[in-house]
């Protein structure tokens, strides 16, 4: 079952690519995505799936080991859930979406693989393989400057992952484990003298994918140039697996190195959080703003992981899981706004939708309301899922390094500032002359001579958009109020991991 969960989207992608008819294509894709989510939920009722291990390439000590437990289960469910939303939105809203459906499904499989792999090389294979659909989504559906964005994204990722590859070879050579299976590597600890250098190899890859300052240079352009529907951005957000990589691989493998380096890394993470929030404040394009908001959250995730404290690490994984939901839904929300933009509008400021739209709330209150809720989740308002994560991270890291925690805490204040300002400019305020959102009856509006916010009549949510936004908000509210199911998945792993660090407080 676990293998079906992992490979069903990939198989579906192959099938979908062969179906000529658009209608059957999208129904197949949606069905497969829903089925995957269903299998995932079914597995989670039994507490996931235990480790399954088969020899893959015996000559090279590579195994096919997968399991679905704890953090992996939670993150996999988020991937399956968001992929379903992405498939629905892509299939019924995006034009010429056939390749997009295939790529989203391919990416779903590789992302699930990243979270389920319990073999270092298998993990690397999925980690790299996810890059291919991600790049293809950008190159097939991207904006005019996608080649630059693409090259930059590829270079950052590849540079990091090649260091990771070198470190993986080093793990085998210096640790002397017979295979790359996680259990075998853990039984053969890496000698202390090479831990730091190998840890840095892992860090290079995961810091790019987290991303952490100063390796975040690819992020804003990546989101800005991706398709305006936001489908690719959803997958891109889920692909930010650096925090998970650190938690599941880098820390257990190199505990000594992690302990030596964790304070400077916490500073870098805290700085990333606040620096990204600062930059987000001055963005005029929605997608760039979301990109930097996401970066700020990732700084928090990094802080939580590097605290080497069970509470903070639990918070980090919680935040990582649910930022996938609210950032993804926000990207789709922006996509919905963008789909209401005038088709021929000149967009000098770039491919993305600007924040200066104004007055959307007047005619599309439900879109406005749901987006607001998503933003509130993102800025960590109690009662929504984001809060649980951020609070745990700050609470846990405070016990380790109060000043760093305080610095990072400033980012949550800044988040309220950039998020609410941008929200206000689009949904309230008076619509400026050059706003791109179309009204359904422009002549009528002109005739009436309205210039106030009511003049731009933006259509409200379609049923499809309801099915996208409402479940996301529902999930966020549910786990904001009742976080135990998710926390119970994370906590044992976090506690066990942090037991390795005697310096940890719990």
């Amino acid at each position: 079952m676990i293998h079906l969960f992992l490979f069903l989207p990939l198989i579906a992608a192959l099938i979908v690519s062969l179906i000529p008819d658009r209608q059957i294509k999208r129904w197949t894709a949606a069905l497969a995505a829903a089925l995957t989510l269903g299998i995932g939920l079914g597995l989670s009722l039994n507490g996931g799936a235990a480790l399954e291990r088969y020899t893959w390439i015996s000559q090279l000590g590579m195994t096919y080991s997968v399991s679905l437990e704890g953090v992996s289960l939670l993150l996999s469910l988020v991937v399956a859930f968001m992929s379903l939303l992405a498939v629905l939105y892509a299939g019924w809203k995006v034009e010429r979406s056939s390749a997009m459906l295939v790529l989203v499904l391919m990416m779903e499989s590789t992302l699930l693989g990243i979270f389920m792999a319990r073999d270092l090389v298998l993990f690397y294979v999925f980690f790299e393989a996810a890059l291919i659909p991600s790049l293809l989504l950008l190159s097939m559906y991207g904006g005019p400057n996608r080649l630059t964005a693409l090259t930059r994204f590829a270079i950052y990722t590849i540079v990091g992952s090649l260091f990771l590859l070198a470190a993986i070879i080093g793990v085998k050579v210096y640790g002397g484990a017979p295979t790359f299976a996680l259990e075998d590597i853990l039984k053969n600890p890496i000698p202390k003298n090479v831990q730091t250098i190998l840890f840095l190899g892992f860090l290079a890859a995961f810091a790019v994918k987290l991303p952490l300052f100063p390796l975040h240079g690819w992020l804003a352009q990546f989101h800005e140039e991706n398709h305006s529907s936001g489908v690719a951005d959803v997958m891109g957000t889920l692909y930010k697996v650096g925090g998970y990589g650190l938690f599941a691989w880098a820390l257990p493998l190199f505990p000594d190195a992690a302990r030596d380096l964790h304070i400077p890394l916490m500073w870098i993470s805290a700085f990333t959080a606040i620096y990204a929030a600062w930059i987000a404040f001055s963005q005029t394009s929605w997608k760039r703003l979301l990109a930097f908001a996401g970066l700020s959250h990732m700084g928090m995730v990094g802080l939580g992981v590097f605290s080497l404290n069970a509470t903070a690490a639990t918070g980090a994984m919680y935040l990582l899981a649910f930022q996938g939901v609210y950032m993804g839904a926000l990207f789709l929300g922006v996509g919905m706004l963008a789909s209401r933009a005038e088709v021929n509008a000149a967009r000098p400021e770039g491919y993305g939708l600007g924040v200066f739209q104004g007055g959307v709330m007047g005619s599309a209150p439900i879109l406005g309301g749901l987006t607001m809720t998503l933003w509130l989740a993102a800025i960590g308002v109690p009662g929504l899922a984001g809060f649980v994560g951020e609070f745990s991270i700050l609470f846990g890291s405070y016990q380790v390094a109060p000043w760093i925690s305080f610095t990072a805490g400033l980012a949550t204040i800044a988040a309220a500032a950039y998020a609410l300002t941008a929200y206000q400019k689009t949904f309230w305020e008076v619509s400026p002359e050059d706003a791109h959102l179309s009204s359904d009856h422009p002549e009528e509006a002109h005739d009436l001579g309205h210039t106030s916010l009511v003049s731009r009549i933006v259509s409200d949510l379609t049923p499809l958009e309801w099915t996208i936004l409402a479940p996301s908000v529902g999930v966020l509210v549910f786990f904001g109020i009742y976080s135990a199911p998710a926390l119970n998945l994370i906590q044992p792993a976090a506690r066990a991991l942090m037991g390795l660090f005697t310096g940890g407080s719990q």
Binding site: Q59, A129, L131, L135, T151, A154, I155, I158, L165, A166
Partner: protein, 481 residues
């Protein structure tokens, strides 16, 4: 008294079949069309392949060890013949377009293949040299075969520089013989191990000259200058052949000489590391600046020579296993990539990066296949190129050559940029303006492309089959003590 020489025809069988095929192709051209000659050639290659499979695990020798039909030779020969088959299949439809549709083309191709097989089977330096010369002469002519200025220039350049390479190689062989008194690999190896040689300086000079000579042949910096011009100037079909078959054969000889004959000498490891370092840096850096796909792949071939040469720094058995595996993947991905270029090019100048733009929307299968080949060349999992790179790098790494293996890994970052750029451009929609590509259907090139694509995928997902075969056969190469 006259004794009958030690001739084992079984060990010679693949070479004989290939030679007979070449002769038949030469004469057959007088009686029948090129197409028929090509089919006869395909039959010959299949027979060669079967005879190789029969020789697997037999470890016979012939001519008192001057010809070794051990698993090492057989494994490389299989890769060579697979490459030759792919080239020949692709030539069935692309030769006419390239004005290469003469039976003489087939004859030369088969003579070249015979030379390649002799190199792989060589057990002493003289046989090796004969193989190298047969192979080189055939490929010089193949490069000039097309009546175009570009091809003539490429062939001339190839001939002149290749001759210098051969001359250096001969000097190296002579000096090594002078130092040790042996031509055969086993003899040289035992002479060095027992310090039973005349002059150390002579031996060092000999091995360094051979290193330089082989570096010419495989295109390692700073002896690589001929590669870009020859690869881009020759007809694409010939480039396809040269980039895989000739290179595999050259490496078969290169590694056998240095791992077996000179395995116990420590004169060449440091110069080799310098050459590898230079090669991967020069190859990858120059490839980034290329706009012509054939030139780009030429520089990529240079960089790959650097990776492949890492096998000589590895422990012999793991190194040669890794080398055979990588050469097999390399053969498939390069054959596929050049076959795609051959199928979409306007003329034999090949295609530029711009030409690839939007290929997916006109010929989706070509684009998907090309994407696979480029990703595999770049070493992305789960494709054959990734496993190949991994085995090569980790073999050298675990043998203690950490710095040079990490340098190779790091330099392949550059490689990703130039492989990914064309790969991504194929999937970008063209805004207005059709690209002037020829898009007639190419059934037999399609076969080469499809076989290569499936092979690259399978080598990435179930590499255990090939690796197990290589490992199950015992060590391909053992340093002789």
């Amino acid at each position: 008294m006259l004794t009958f020489p030690d001739v084992s025809l079984t060990a010679l069988l693949p070479i004989i079949i290939s030679l007979v095929t070449a002769c038949v192709a030469t004469l057959g051209g007088l009686y029948t069309s090129r197409q028929n000659v090509a089919y006869i050639g395909l039959g010959g290659l299949v027979l060669t392949l079967l005879s190789l499979i029969a020789l697997w695990n037999n470890n016979t020798t012939s001519f008192k060890g001057a010809l070794l039909a051990d698993n090492y030779a057989v494994a490389f020969s299989v890769v060579i013949v697979i490459g030759a088959l792919l080239s020949l299949i692709a030539s069935l439809d692309s030769a006419r377009k390239a004005q290469l549709n003469f039976p003489e083309f087939d004859a030369l191709l088969h003579f070249g293949i015979t030379g390649c097989l002799i190199i792989a089977f060589a057990g002493d330096l003289v046989v090796l040299l004969i193989g190298v010369e047969v192979m080189s002469l055939a490929s010089y002519v193949l490069a000039t075969f097309q009546t175009s200025r570009r091809a003539e220039e490429a062939g001339m350049k190839y001939f002149l520089l290749g001759s210098i390479g051969s001359a250096i190689l001969i000097y190296g062989i002579a000096l090594t013989f002078g130092a040790t008194g042996h031509f055969d690999f086993a003899g040289i190896s035992s002479a060095i191990a027992q310090k039973d040689f005349a002059n150390n300086t002579l031996l060092v000079m000999g091995s360094l000259l051979m290193l330089a000579g082989f570096s010419f042949k495989v295109g390692m910096a700073p002896f690589h200058q001929w590669t870009p011009d020859v690869y881009s100037g020759s007809p694409t079909l010939v480039t396809l052949f040269m980039s895989i078959v000739v290179k595999t054969a050259a490496f078969a000889g290169f590694v056998r000489v240095f791992q077996v004959a000179l395995g116990s000498s420590d004169a060449w490891q440091i110069p080799l590391q310098i050459l590898i370092g230079l090669t991967v840096i020069v190859g990858n850096m120059a490839a980034i600046r290329q706009n012509e796909l054939k030139r780009m792949l030429a520089y990529s071939a240079i960089a790959h020579s650097g990776y492949l040469a890492l096998a000589m720094l590895s422990e012999p058995s793991s190194g040669s296993n890794a080398l055979v595996f990588y050469l097999l993947s390399y053969t498939l991905m390069n054959a596929g990539a050049f076959a795609v270029i051959g199928a979409i090019q306007k003329d034999d100048r090949g295609a530029t990066l711009e030409d690839l733009r939007g290929l997916f929307y006109r010929r989706p299968m070509y684009a998907v296949a090309m994407g696979l080949f480029l990703a595999s060349l770049a070493g992305l999992p789960p494709l054959g190129g990734f496993i190949g790179k991994y085995t090569l790098f980790s073999a050298a790494f675990s043998n203690g050559y950490v710095f040079i293996s990490v340098l190779c890994i790091v330099s392949s970052m550059y490689a990703l940029v130039y492989y990914l750029r064309p790969a991504m451009m194929m999937f970008m929609r063209v805004e207005g303006g059709e690209m002037p590509l020829q898009l007639e259907s190419r059934p037999s090139s399609g076969v080469t492309i499809a076989v290569s694509a499936v092979g690259v995928l399978l080598l990435g997902i179930v590499p255990g089959v090939v690796l197990g075969l290589l490992e199950g056969a015992g060590k391909l190469l053992q340093a002789m003590q």
